[in-house]
């Protein structure tokens, strides 16, 4: 559906502009897992206000937007076991790899960072394989 692609591109530009502002003004990498992880494990305690402010914006603004526009569904599975396992994998994996889709993907690839490109190749590969196995072979997602 081309309309979805246009919205994807427009949303992507917003994400890229956000990351660009964070880099050029604050001198930081806009990586979601790093920002959250640094708060959680204490490694980012010295600049916790900035991290908390970013997370607050990330939660509040989509909340207000969906409240006004409405009708947003995440279509997340109702299977709690899958949600818990997936959440643990995402938490451990992104912190072990030091980045996720925003840090390695958006910020890393745009810098032509080898680590960012390789990490992205691995998580997309693993994600694709997981969908093939759990959706098409096992039929659980």
């Amino acid at each position: 559906m081309p309309m979805d692609w246009i919205m994807g591109l427009a949303g992507g530009v917003l994400i890229g502009v956000a990351a660009a502002i964070y880099l050029l003004v604050n001198g930081r990498i806009m990586g979601a897992s790093g920002i959250i992880g640094g708060l959680v494990d204490g490694s980012g305690r010295h600049d916790w206000i900035e991290r908390a402010a970013l997370i607050a914006g990330l939660i509040i603004v989509p909340g207000i937007a969906t409240f006004i526009v409405g009708g947003t569904e995440t279509h997340l599975t109702g299977n709690w076991a899958i949600i818990i396992v997936a959440g643990l994998l995402v938490g451990v994996g992104t912190r072990l790899a030091n980045g996720c889709t925003s840090g390695h993907g958006v910020c890393g690839i745009s810098r032509l960072s080898l680590r960012g490109i390789v990490a992205t190749a691995y998580y997309i590969g693993a994600g694709g394989l997981t969908v093939v196995i759990f959706k098409h072979l096992l039929g659980v997602i």
Partner: protein, 143 residues
Amino acid sequence: MRAFISFLVGSLFGLGLLVSGMTDTTKVQGWLDVFGDWDPTLAFVMGGAIVPMAVAWRFTIGRKPVLGAAFPTPPEPKLGRNLILGSTLFGMGWGLSGLCPGPAVASLSFGGTGGVIFIVAMVTGMMITPKLRSRLDQTAVAV
């Protein structure tokens, strides 16, 4: 001031994730589902985000951040076990749920109980990672 910029950045980031459809797990799993009904939206999102960021990186050369001491130095181009193993585990969780950290947080207000459970599990995973990492390092030395 830095905190205000951070709030603004988080707001734009969240709006971008919402507009692009990345808070919808079916779009993410659709992108990963190359053998099913493949959805290319995520490629447009990535492309759209990488372009302004690439310009920003070019702009950092020979300059300083407006409100900071220095730009982040490039990481060592080392592809260690943690990068490969971590990205693989992350990809598995991403494929299972269709959520990565940014959209998971951005959809907290409208993602229901499942979304909250995901965040709790993700944060738990993040909390145990430092311990897990040192355990892995010890095993690597022993092997």
